[in-house]
Symmetry: C2
Subunit: 326 residues, 2 copies
DNA sequence: GATGCTGTCGGAATCGGTTCCGGTCCGGGA
DNA sequence: TCCCGGACCGGAACCGATTCCGACAGCATC
């Protein structure tokens, strides 16, 4: 009633462990077609599953990717989903590390039991993470704000996303813009860049710590006709605020949010969003990491995926959108 | 420049591997105090980190917990956070499995490379999952709706949460109740139970597939004065709907939502929520699993953690709440 | 003084794969 | 006919820990 091992398969097929191993490892060298077929059949019959621990021990590869996430996961789940899908396709698994505790930081630096690391939005600098063996780990970082020591850095297109939002507002002939964010960073920078590109005067920038209501200040300040919020929640609150003071969205003021779309489309009005391609990015990051792990490829430093703009009712009035479609 | 192994430590300390292993494995038998101290010091000096793969191979334990999550993680993150924290405290790691693809189901049944499984809200029956060795895996299921074969089942208190919501509304002297949910299930059942307990007539039950707007139907149907939504988003939409037809919240209608609190408190009005103790539950589940793995304890079948009721502006008018405080 | 027991420690087997090294067998070219 | 090379396969070392078993010392007991 013990589990079936490679030795069992080999014995049942009448070959040596070495041959069985070669046959199973799916490169078609060094083993005859007939033998291989027989081994594969026997293995299937016996329900053979290789022992990951043994494989890892011998090969020095755990086939595990650590993914470090902030304590508040909200908004980042699509990255996880994308990464998980790609990881399983390439024979890897994702192990979760929350960055809330100082001890986690420590562990990241001390030695992770994983072959690579996907680091999501730490918002702070970390010592370059190392593997169990002490060598630096292939790392992909999803955050524009981090300065990361040795270049194995994967930047997201947050800046580009901010610029896209700004451009969209400018395209709507809005020229008194404002932005509401939970912190300064590449998103806001990109937005500002778009404004200068379009020859607009500098927009107001409001920073609102998560949970705080800087919304009130925004809507009662100088009048604006174009508004960008860096989370759907902030956008929703702002819309409510604009309405309270008698402005209609999108006729009087166009609102754009940064965030994923499927939630925001149920708002009233449906929210126009600049949607960073989180899922694709997660998948891509995993690809790069696995390439780095298996082929020693170097993780490129500046990959940028293009954010998608989903135009909905909060930024463009219905009739104008209807016209635009023609 | 190779990594330091147990053998290195042993040699440096002038003892055998066996002794070094005993000294490090922290049970104070079978090794002299002086020897142990020396070994520990040497190990620290050399920066010794045990090789997980080798440990796993020898002990047959991966110190990995699989956590299966639905494709849409939203709302479940706190479970992950709680589970991750407790896991690291007990020396385990969480590996992520998304349940979106059929192949994942397959893998769950075929053999997971983990010592235990935390199954979150599958909403469907699965074959009892097995480990790499084909033996059934200790499993904790977070979902009241699942029929799970062999009893290793951890129920959440979703039913209890629904009942708490109903009671709260009844306590507010509301008697024309309605509930809006994305699917029927224990939450709704618990709510109904509370209604009959309170001697109220059966409330209207609206089912609204995720993304659909059954909200409209709810608010324009028969007048209600107490309302329960099974997600914060549904609640928010409903509030907007009530206002549209001239009802004020909470004076005319009390609204309660199921979900975590920190998001809902920023709504207008701040949402009263019945908040299932996801985080504590994740931690507890991990504890049970690890106990089952290491001591062979059996995972209890009906653990229920009590949902917390957070009363805010959407269900009780300000003055009444002020009075209640006296 | 021989025996038994307890507290420490070393030797060696073991977990289950992967891979190096070498051996056999066969066909083809000289 | 002899030799060489390639295809195919077996033996055995090895990865790095854990653990069983036995050895040995020291001490108490008879």
């Amino acid at each position: 009633m013990r589990r079936v091992s490679l030795a069992d398969v080999a014995k049942a097929a009448g070959v040596a462990k070495a041959t069985a191993s070669r046959a199973l490892s799916s490169r078609q060298q060094d083993v005859g077609a007939a033998t291989r077929a027989r081994i594969l059949e026997v293995a299937a019959d016996l329900g053979y599953q290789p022992n990951r621990a043994a494989q890892s021990l011998r090969t020095g590869r755990l086939r595990l990717l650590a993914v470090a996430v902030p304590a508040d996961l909200r908004g980042w789940e699509p990255i996880l989903a994308g990464a998980a899908g790609q990881a399983r396709r390439r024979g890897y698994h994702l192990v979760l590390h929350y960055l809330d505790s100082a001890s986690e930081d420590e562990q990241l630096a001390e030695g992770l039991s994983a072959d690579g690391l996907l680091l999501i939005a730490p918002g702070r600098t970390l010592r370059p993470p190392v593997g169990e063996d002490g060598v630096p780990l292939p790392t992909a970082v999803v955050d524009d704000t981090v300065e990361h020591g040795d270049g194995a850095l994967l930047r997201t297109a947050l800046w580009q996303a901010g610029r896209t939002a700004g451009r969209h507002l400018a395209d709507q002939d809005r020229f008194r813009l404002a932005v509401l964010a939970e912190s300064s960073g590449p998103v806001v920078d990109g937005f500002l860049a778009a404004c200068t590109d379009a020859g607009l005067s500098a927009p107001e920038v409001h920073i609102s710590a998560p949970g705080e209501v800087a919304v009130e200040r925004v809507v009662t300040d100088a009048p604006v006709d174009g508004f960008f919020a860096t989370t759907p929640a902030l956008a929703a609150h702002s819309v409510a605020g604009f309405r309270r003071i008698g402005l209609t969205v999108p006729e009087d003021v166009s609102v754009v949010a940064l965030g994923d779309g499927d939630l925001a489309q149920h708002f009233d009005p449906p929210l126009t969003v600049v949607s960073p391609p989180w899922q694709a990015l997660g998948a891509r990051a995993v690809d790069l990491l696995v390439d780095a792990i298996e082929d020693g490829a170097v993780v490129p430093a500046g990959l940028e995926l293009v954010a998608e703009l989903v135009v909905r009712g909060s930024s463009v009035p219905e009739r104008r959108r209807a016209v635009a479609r023609d």
